[in-house]
Subunit: 331 residues, 2 copies
């Protein structure tokens, strides 16, 4: 099934079930008010949500309405936990090159993962407000999973069973600040803006045969100002989602509603399939031409991220948003 | 005033006002159900909470009851954001030594800060469950502030005005995993267990003259298995809380309920005042004796963290908790 949080002035949105073709939606009234509430009692509420989804797809759900994508918030407009990995090895290789970083010693055997800020997550069509173009604004197209509660010490095989939903991510990054954050060892802090999710979160069964080995075996389509920028394949993850869950739960429980991202989608065949962030293209230019040529984002630029099924239908809807100058803080 | 969340089986506890002497409490019924709800509408609810506090201290609050510290959860049992700094320079100096780390180039002028996991925060008397003594279990005594909403670009002077509450922290760390996490550049992930807060959160006015220059000018008292381990002074922060807020809000908004910690409290006079974590003592032993001598925590060990006012009265109550072996994850 497909779920979304609709904007209603409340901080966590209102949970809606969305039709498979993304055209219609209906509030999950009486089942769960928010996605966080649903994920905390998933086994109890999922059957009722599935029944509502079936009636919505059949055109028999009362109170259904057309889905307006600009009304959609992030599936979890605030998340108690947002963790992001770097699960595509070619992305790590390229970014080490462009930023002159030392490769982490166990990078092919132990997932890289950082604790992200989950307190303010943007909806798929929301503007991304940032303070300055000089910070090197970049997008990062990713997939993410949303988990129910994961106990400390969960294995990769068990971890995969905690995956309840998948969604799209644009992990906005500020490249002029990233190397500095990395060099402290303390992780990304100023070098990440608010992250974007959605528009829709789907259960793994919606992916059919493309959901295999704890990975999604489909390309991601990235456009920058209307022009294709890349369509790297998500099946190339160097670690499965189950392995990412186990890595995160090594020394602590993960609360229900934890989100884990793949990191920037990237393929070894980057020269053919393109990239899912500008920094990676700059690394390729540095390799091929001796210097990076593609500039980072300007205010007003638009980024689109979408995944299509084997029939060309949009699975999650599209992240399609503009980068804008943030208003100054009140004095 | 003093506030606490009492355990009631709900994930966020129930907000209580606590008497100045920490002996009695009363639910904030009809004002705000949880501390998160209160902090989201602080200006609206603070006057009513203050009136309840006054009547509780005067012994005239109906429905007041004796406060049992084991009933107290973390002030925010889940936080939308938990950020932790390393604001005491002598702590950074010593830990670089013991872990053989490169000093960050701007360490005296730009705060070090990491994004912590806020999804499961422990109460002050809760056991700390961890998987293995071999991970090098350590405590870190800290102070933290709880903020209302902070807009992106807030300055240090403005930042201080967003501080609504202060509380104690035990930032449990796993030293055998820390250097590895730091070397990835991605920050602490497996090397931090669940963090402990509380028991009580207090408004800055409760600190009287000890609240100055955006710092708390009092020592923190740390005991390990009943023996004094250190009493470093919190006034020695290399950055003020206002500066930490501004650093965190450089490229994004901080939601109401964001917690920012000082990092391990530490003084240049560590040989006289002792330390607030074991790693630091090991660094001193390495310097003075050529090798670290003090082992990390064993299961069953107890840690106590408390701050006293000028008259010797406990301000926040005490973090007083045991480290225990976590139950294995269900198969």
């Amino acid at each position: 099934m497909k779920l979304a949080a609709l904007k209603t002035g409340t901080p966590d949105g209102v949970l809606h079930v969305v039709s498979r073709d993304l055209s219609r939606s209906v509030a999950a009234t009486g089942i769960a008010e928010t996605l966080q509430a649903a994920i905390e009692q998933w086994d109890q509420v999922a059957p009722a949500l599935e029944r509502l989804y079936d009636s919505l797809n059949a055109g028999t759900a009362p109170d259904a309405a057309d889905l307006v994508m600009t009304d959609v918030a992030a599936p979890l407009p605030r998340a108690w936990q947002w963790l992001d990995a770097s699960a595509f090895h070619s992305h790590g290789d390229l970014l080490e090159k462009v930023f002159g970083l030392e490769p982490p010693p166990e990078k092919k055997t132990v997932p890289l993962m950082y604790q992200g800020a989950g307190d303010e997550l943007l909806g798929a069509t929301d503007d991304v407000p940032l303070p300055s173009e000089a910070d090197g604004m970049d997008f990062e197209a990713e997939l993410a999973v949303i988990l129910d509660r994961v106990p400390m010490g969960t294995t990769a095989a068990q971890g995969e069973r905690h995956i309840r939903l998948l969604t799209l991510v644009n992990d906005t990054s500020l490249r002029a600040l990233a190397a500095k954050d990395l060099k402290t060892g303390f992780g990304f802090l100023q070098s990440k803006g608010a992250t974007t999710f959605g528009p829709v979160a789907v259960t793994p069964d919606e992916l059919g045969a493309a959901w295999r080995d704890g990975r999604v075996d489909l390309p991601m389509h990235i456009h920058w100002n209307g022009k294709e920028f890349g369509h790297p394949h998500c099946g190339a993850m160097g670690f499965s989602f189950g392995e990412l869950v186990a890595h995160a739960a090594r020394t602590r429980n993960l609360c229900a509603g934890t989100i884990i991202g793949t990191g920037t989608i990237s393929n070894d065949t980057f020269r053919e399939v393109g990239s899912a962030c500008i920094a990676e293209r700059r690394a390729i230019e540095l390799t091929d031409e001796g210097q990076p040529r593609t500039p980072y984002l300007k205010f007003g630029d638009r980024v689109r991220i979408e995944m299509l099924d084997a029939n060309g239908a949009s699975i999650f809807g599209a992240i399609d948003q503009r980068y804008v100058q943030a208003s100054p803080a009140p004095q």
